[in-house]
């Protein structure tokens, strides 16, 4: 039987972590994400599944605890908000370099610096283009509903282990704080298998395993890089996810992700009422980016408007995908301000239809 609950995005995500059979959560509180660790502490999942929850002394410590647990083959995760995620970036680069699976949640707030605690999407570049040093990629999932916050925890762990790669859920202050109806999946068992790459001790009959991101020989490091790049090409081929709304007859197109896609959908409805044939593409994976479908739409649209709560980040990937086939413009509010559907409609009229 379906279990329907009204839950906050952050709390639903925390419950999903327990149910996905996570072995460990390491975190440090920061608004607007603190409900994740608060919920886990209150729920005390060690009694339910044996899952360990620890408040680390800092974000840097938390991500390195994740690194250690992941190295032992465990399903480990952490969560934070923008300034805290910046602190974790060194560790994320190491985890990507060591090819370990883990789940990282960023409930984005506005920056730069300490910025404000209000919602934003200004960490798109950081999540999608690197953030930490070196040629690496994270799989980046962008939930637009509380339900997706739940579903992407399970999907995120699955993808992380499938590709031995860090996965980030790029949420924001709206998705984290809002309450919606949510259907929770059933409790999954924690796995007790030890993957062959896990550093769990050299037992008789088991090869020795070294987990490291260090290769002092350039020839060897290049092999690592080539292996990573080959993996990323597979991810790009297999893991693109997106939704389209009312695109069949569309002459104009919105592209928006996360909470902003929902506000944009309202703007699309308003635009349709005014007689404009507008559709919406909502990337659910920001890396790998749905460039093929956007390229195809680019060939038959009169113009594309990206709507983001930042000064124009995803718009660069949309432009690369469209490759000059039609005009691509950006509309954004930032600093914690949320665009209204009317503003978005106005931007469509000014920048695309009239432009």
């Amino acid at each position: 039987m379906k279990e329907l609950r009204l839950m906050k995005g952050n709390e639903a995500l925390a419950e999903a972590a327990i149910r996905a059979g996570a072995d460990a959560y390491f975190g440090y509180p920061i608004t607007p994400q603190s409900e994740v660790i608060e919920y886990l502490m209150r729920e005390n999942p060690v009694d339910r599944t044996g899952m360990q929850v620890l408040q680390a002394e800092s974000e840097v410590a938390a991500i390195n605890m994740v690194y250690g647990a992941a190295g032992c083959g465990k399903r480990a995760m952490t969560s934070s908000s923008s300034p805290g995620i910046s602190l974790k970036m060194e560790g994320i680069s190491y985890i990507a370099g060591a090819e370990l699976p883990c789940l990282i949640v960023n409930v984005v707030r506005a920056g730069p610096g300490l910025g404000t605690i209000q919602p934003s999407q200004s960490d798109y570049f950081q999540a999608v283009k690197g953030g930490g040093h070196g040629d690496y990629k994270m799989i980046v999932l962008a939930p637009a509903t509380v339900q997706e916050s739940v579903d992407y925890v399970k999907l995120g762990f699955d993808l992380a282990f499938k590709y031995r790669n860090p996965v980030m859920i790029l949420s924001d202050g709206i998705i984290g704080q809002m309450m919606e109806k949510v259907e929770l999946f059933e409790q999954m068992p924690r796995t007790t298998e030890e993957p062959e790459w896990a550093t769990v001790g050299k037992k008789p009959g088991r090869d020795s395993v070294i987990v490291t991101s260090l290769q002092l020989q350039s020839e060897e490091q290049e092999k690592v890089n080539l292996r990573l790049q080959a993996k990323y090409r597979v991810i790009e081929k297999n893991e693109v996810r997106y939704e389209t709304y009312m695109c069949d007859d569309a002459e104009y197109l919105f592209v928006a992700f996360g909470s902003c896609a929902r506000i944009t959908r309202k703007a699309m409805e308003l635009a349709r009422e005014k007689g404009y044939k507008v559709g919406l593409v909502r990337p659910q994976t920001l890396y790998p980016f749905p460039e093929k479908v956007i390229n195809e739409f680019g060939s038959r649209m009169k113009g594309i408007l990206t709507v983001e709560m930042n000064a124009g980040q995803m718009v660069e990937d949309v432009r690369l995908a469209v490759n000059g086939q039609c005009p691509v413009k950006h509309f954004g509010r930032f600093g914690g301000m949320i665009p209204s559907p009317d503003e978005i409609l106005n931007a469509l009229e000014q920048k695309i239809i009239g432009g």
């Binding site: 704080q177 309450m179 929902r262 506000i263």
Partner: protein, 184 residues
Amino acid sequence: MTEEIIIAGFGGQGVLSMGQILCYSGVMQGQEVSWMPSYGPEMRGGTANCTAIISDKEISSPVLTQYDTAIVLNQPSMDKFEDAVKPGGLLIYEENGMTRKPKRTDINICSIAAYDESVRMNNTKVFNMIVIGGFLKVKPIIELENVIKGLQKVLPERYHHLIPLNEEAIHKGMDIIKKEHSLN
């Protein structure tokens, strides 16, 4: 049916839980709901507000700038949200502590003396339930029995003995809400 509601007042008046109760009641009635709080610096002692949306259809934007109904429980909230009511919409305000009446003439306006009533009931904690009662009298979008089911979900079990008191408060609110300005 889609009802987009803003509820605003001082922190401690039960603003956020009012929105949650309405949303949970909507869930009990099989509707789509969304609840979005203000969580900024204003919630630390100043004004608090939340957006509650109850609809037959999937809800697109959880964040709005115009509302079908504004429930305002103090003067700063009235100042902020009176203009955000859609033409033909509804404004409900708590009489206590208001220094001016609303000015709009293109919306329906109701007042409710919920605080005074909660004092008469000898339990100021049911203040927000009185307001909910008033709202449901004017806009009966949710059946009372589903509100009670919603309360059972929102309240921890140790407080379930207080549900009859809350139900009484809802009925009081339905009795005492007053029409100040009617469009028809």
